[in-house]
Symmetry: C2
Subunit: 773 residues, 2 copies
């Protein structure tokens, strides 16, 4: 049991870390050499030029202006200054709504914290249960416990305060959640209604086109929609399986990078031509001249790519039974996306086409039966991942301990016995095995989601986020609360009665308060402050800059702006919601730590979204129902835990009062689901019709067909025309300048999305060829 002093020391250390990170950031961001690391978003938007072009040699790399150091904290007001509508224009609705999650945390927990400090802390403090039990017993207690529910004697009437507070907190949380859901639904509809013409407004993705012996997929699609949507069908674009081509292009790019590196190396030191080996990773095999070898390789690949490109365009096997079907009006597309087409509900599946850059092309051709089998496999695999992931980790750990190494590799004995090496192995290796697994976890979850067959990057990230949350809940929260691995818990929960489980957790909760306070400070305070420092991109940028960069274009590609990373970020925030709601009634001391986290994270991520992160797709806040649902889950969980705790506290007569809480909360969730969720899933016809009518009045002669012709071709075919595209992009971007600036655009390449390569949704009229027809 930690005392206030212990907590104070931990808090001091973490505040020190956080401040150190923030100061380091404040200094590093002012150096011109780091400009592309800390302001990549502005480069990507073409609104910032490198400050390395003007001034003396030294001032190109180091900021010598002492005045700017004085104002080293002024990024905070800068980050907060941009109003929300401008933020939506600048970084998209997804980012703006993502920030609102932190705001929601503040909205929920500021009144909750005030109320619980005003009422619960005095109620808890003015008892002496713990002092008494210490006097008679050997029980250790701390000042923090004196402020918590543990200090109330068994069966005391004071527990009614906690029950009333549980009602008040539940009511307040639900009220805030409802307001937020309504607000975000309105924002989403407004965003969808006020945005410019986009190809996905007119387009529907059709999957599982049935094979027809007499017709090609393209003909089959055309006939089907001409018959069943005669007044609305406009055109379509079949999906081509260009996965192999994409792989070849990627390989070529990597070889090109190596070639650049060797050429740069040679140009710096002309005395010796660089060499490489032909085998695996350049580590084994014959030694050859690196530049010649890579050049030959690239030539071979170029030829192969050209061949593959021809094959893909002509071979009917590469045409997948899926197509993007475009309609004359938004109304027609809305109708087709929401209705069932065929009497066999697994054929002619229609759904809104995702944004072109949001599409995950590899999954477009999975048939229905395969999809449902994949879902089963992943469900089983995920179950094992949650409950048995400790097995391989433990195995690695058992290999990596001193005795294990000594037994398996006796020849290392001499080295191991050096005290320093020994302590490193004992102290670090077991932790590292677990750490590596946890670092790999988001990737593993993303691979699982991809295997499951989702069509768009946003859906992949949402599914991964759900899985990550479940993993966190079981393997971070529950494992910390009740000692023992997840599997041991599963086993003991199976053998415990249903009303004993919340009791087990409930009893453990107050005892773990100090642990979670430390967790919040390490992961929440220092971790968030570390995020703004961007140490990894900083190092990688300078390494690339030194070894690879020759042109401005290379330098741009060396930037790694990153993205919000919904699949890892959101589940972490949710853990704080869970902790806050669980501890709100039990240990009110906990709440200020959560508040500091939400405030800090809000400021930091607002800064990052404005200045750093690249928006990879725009799903118009489609993730909000997930966020809402998980907070509701945390709320219900906290109520069950409180019930369990109360029943051990001799306040069992309160159970009937508490049982109404989860019932009402779940009902509230169902109500919200019906009232607001459709706005995130379907597109109302009224809106579509309104936009159609407006557009018809404004642009009666619009040639929609040519506008849509190339919107949905595979990005690999768009890359062909990078060079001609550039000027168009610049034009487009200058049209859309939203934040006034005096700087000229210097952007050279479009920003690649992490998954689908380059693909600019606003550029349908530049790529000249249409491989689908």
């Amino acid at each position: 049991m930690a005392t206030f002093a212990d907590i104070g020391v931990a808090a001091g250390m973490n505040i020190l870390f956080a401040v150190a990170f923030l100061v380091a950031f404040a200094i590093l961001r002012l150096q011109p050499i780091n400009d592309r690391v800390y302001f990549p978003k502005w480069y990507l938007k073409g609104l910032r030029s490198s400050p390395m072009h003007q001034g003396s040699f030294v001032s190109k790399f180091v900021n010598l202006d002492w005045r700017s150091y004085i104002r080293f904290l002024n990024w905070v007001p800068d980050a907060l200054r941009m109003p929300e509508p401008e933020l939506i224009d600048h970084a998209g609705l997804d980012s703006a709504v993502y920030l609102r999650i932190y705001l929601l945390g503040l909205k929920i927990f500021v009144p909750v914290a005030l109320l619980s400090w005003a009422i619960l802390v005095p109620v808890n403090w003015t008892n002496n249960t713990l002092a008494k039990s210490e006097a008679t017993d050997e029980l250790q207690y701390s000042d923090i416990d004196k402020l918590s529910i543990s200090n109330i004697p068994n069966g005391s009437l004071r527990f009614w305060t906690h029950i009333v507070m549980a009602y008040a907190f539940t009511f307040w949380t639900c009220y805030t959640l409802r307001n937020e859901y309504a607000k975000i639904a309105t924002m989403r509809l407004h965003f969808l209604a006020s945005e410019r013409r986009r190809p996905d407004q007119f387009t529907v993705l059709v999957r599982n086109v049935p094979p027809d012996p007499d017709e090609s997929v393209s003909e089959s699609v055309e006939h089907f929609f001409l018959v069943n949507h005669p007044d609305h069908y406009l055109t379509h674009q079949v999906v081509i399986n260009a996965n192999k081509l994409a792989k070849l292009v990627k390989e070529k790019k990597s070889k090109q990078n190596w070639l650049d590196y060797y050429q740069l190396k040679y140009s710096r030191n002309q005395s010796r031509r660089p060499v490489t080996k032909t085998g695996f990773l350049g580590l084994c095999g014959e030694t050859v001249d690196a530049i010649d070898y890579k050049t030959a390789e690239i030539e071979r690949l170029t030829k192969e790519i050209a061949e593959e490109r021809e094959r893909v365009k002509t071979d009917p096997k590469c045409i997948m039974p899926a197509a993007f079907v475009s309609f004359r009006t938004r109304w027609g597309a809305a109708v087709c996306a929401q209705t069932e087409q065929s009497r066999n509900p697994t054929l002619w599946l229609t759904e809104w086409a995702p944004e072109p850059r949001d599409i995950y092309w590899d999954n477009l051709a999975i048939p229905y039966v395969s999809l449902s089998i994949r879902r089963l496999i992943i469900a089983v695999a995920f179950f094992f991942l949650i409950f048995f992931f400790t097995i391989p980790v433990t195995f690695v750990q058992s290999l990596a301990n001193i005795e294990g190494i000594r037994r398996r590799a006796p020849f290392l004995k001499a080295i191991i016995d050096i005290p320093f090496i020994k302590s490193v192995i004992q102290g670090f290796l077991p932790g590292i095995a677990l750490k590596i697994f946890l670092v790999l976890l988001p990737t593993i979850l993303m691979i699982m989601s991809k295997f499951e067959g989702f069509m768009s990057v946003s859906a992949l990230e949402r599914r991964s986020a759900t899985r990550y949350y479940i993993f966190n809940f079981v393997n971070v929260f529950l494992v910390s609360v009740i000692a023992g691995s997840a599997f041991q818990q599963l086993d003991s929960f199976l053998h415990q009665s249903a009303n004993y489980i919340p009791r087990t957790i409930g009893v453990a909760i107050p005892m773990k308060a100090t642990f979670f306070i430390t967790y919040v400070m390490v992961d929440g305070w220092a971790g968030v402050a570390g995020e703004i420092l961007r140490l990894k991109p900083l190092i990688f940028f300078h390494l690339k800059n030194f070894f690879l960069v020759k042109t401005e274009k290379d330098r741009e590609e060396a930037m790694d702006p990153g993205s919000i990373g919904f699949n890892t970020g959101e589940p972490q925030i949710q853990l704080y919601f869970l902790l806050g709601l669980v501890y709100a009634v039990v240990t009110p001391v906990f709440l200020p730590f959560i508040l500091v986290f939400f405030t800090l994270a809000y400021v930091v991520f607002r800064h990052q979204i404005i200045n750093v992160y690249n928006q990879e797709y725009e799903s118009a806040a489609a993730f909000w129902p997930d966020v809402h649902g998980r907070i509701i889950f945390a709320l219900v969980f906290s109520q069950l835990v409180l019930m369990g705790l109360m029943s051990t506290k001799g306040a069992a007569q309160s159970t009937p009062f508490l049982i109404a809480l989860p019932v009402l909360t779940i009902w509230f969730h169902i109500f919200c689901k019906g009232r607001y969720e459709p706005a995130f899933v379907r597109n109302p016809l009224q809106e579509a019709m309104m936009k159609d009518t407006l557009e018809r009045a404004r642009e009666p002669n619009l040639n929609l067909k040519s506008y849509l012709r190339n919107a949905y071709i595979h990005p690999i075919f768009k890359n062909d025309d990078d060079d001609n595209e550039d000027e168009h992009i610049d034009e487009k971007i200058e049209e859309n300048v939203l934040v006034p600036t005096k700087r000229r655009s210097r952007r050279n390449t479009p920003v690649p999305s992490k998954y689908s390569g380059t693909s600019s949704p606003s550029l349908p009229d530049v790529a000249p060829e249409n491989p689908g027809s």
Copy 2:
């Protein structure tokens, strides 16, 4: 523990009962006087005239033809003879598919029974565990137990046979279920596609029309659909709140019946004019001349009805914010029903309009928030109904026992002490309290569903069926398996661990086999045979015939054909599926009893559907997903129970093999849900377009507007024109004669649906007035 002999006696008795019922039925149905009781369906279709019109006086009432008594069982082949397509024409798809539930039972259990008798019975029989334990222990056992899994020694390798069989049965059940789902989906689509033009194909029910200060509901609806479905909107019909009017009309009808009764009484005995009392139920109050009094009452009501009718038509308060909107094409209606109209997803809710006679008019105007609160209330109420229903029953029982009566009503002491009265009270009263509750249960459940706000009778019945099944499962099945009331079980399940619950049930299952065998015989065999006798309608018909009937029309109204009663019938069948699946592996002796039930019930209900039941609505087998889901639930439950049983049998190493079964079964359910369920929920555009095109080619000049004008007016306004309607109805019916007949139609009144009164969907062009516009 019952022996074979005990079972034999019980079987013999129940067979005797069943045969007695069947013989009584065979004799009664041949009497002309009962013709309307046993063949009402044919009267309703207008295809049968009363045999009482020809022949001598005696032969009008009693069948004197001895030859017909010899062939007294020939209703069985008659019932089986009608082919399924004809049955669908005759009694609707709902009835035909309902019969297929029994067939499905046979399809599943015949191979299962054969396999288990061929393999499991020998495997169980050739052990001597029970004989041994009897020798050493005091354990009683019977021959039936020797055939069950109880006879296998603990930890025996023979349990692998049971595991393999569990896989085989699961596989076979799923295979059969899938085939059946596919078949019924096809039947439904074929039925919907091949049926004649019906108003509901073109019509969508719109609810929650937002109030508009400047426009009436009718104008608001028209403008909204003219704007948002400009090419497809045709006309609409606002919903009028005529509940009060309907109540008045009903009251008038009841008074009219009494008047008829008194007039008949007076005409038979002219010496004394009948008198009645004006108070409650004619039991108290002033004594008056009955005929004059009722005539005056009817006159008053007639006036009130006329006033109310005027008020309803003009008062804007009676217009509810709901409307039936009709479209030019089926395609337009399909689109509108499946899409979201407004940005607020709780306004302008659209769904397929039910058939006119399927509509439950009272619920059309419930707003969204009220609906979701009602759902919460009913969910809580249903929970209490399931787990606490014994409290009022026990209370009544405690009042109704000897000691209770003696204490509370000492003046009855003399009567109670008569031995005969005493034994009656002791033997019957407690049972009667429970029985009355169980008889009332379907009505209570139906009231709950009505309160919940469903729009159509079919939906009400489906929801009631689900509730009834849950009630049966908890309060019949579980309560029988584990002694103790449902509430005691809930309590003990809350205090038991999750893996102990299936074990508790699993251990009890084999011991209860004989109880359930008796249950099947009493409820299944004798009960079904009793159904065909129709004792209650028989008595009521003759009573009405004697006291009320004056004209042919009255006699027709005195018929009570009844209906399938999906809300009570289907949950009962499901109980047999549950029992069959649970006992298939454990006690194979059970299966033949189930098979007899399914065979007998199939024949009986086929006969009833052909000759008796009146089809109240046609939902085109919309209930099948429920049926499928409940069988899947029974399958998963049986697998869990088997796992529990195995783990107590020293065969715990089999758990990993068995755990795959529920996982695979649930996956199968999800697969089927995705693959087939949409066919029961949505209407594919392809089908709609096909029918539209055909119709346009066949009848290019169809005046759809006049066809649809009066389809969806409240039945109360249609009744006005009963007399003019009749001839049209006859015409229509003769067009649609499907079963060849030589008899002339004698039908005089249309058949009222139990809930919504008369409303003939095929009669849109006869009612001249349109109260909605």
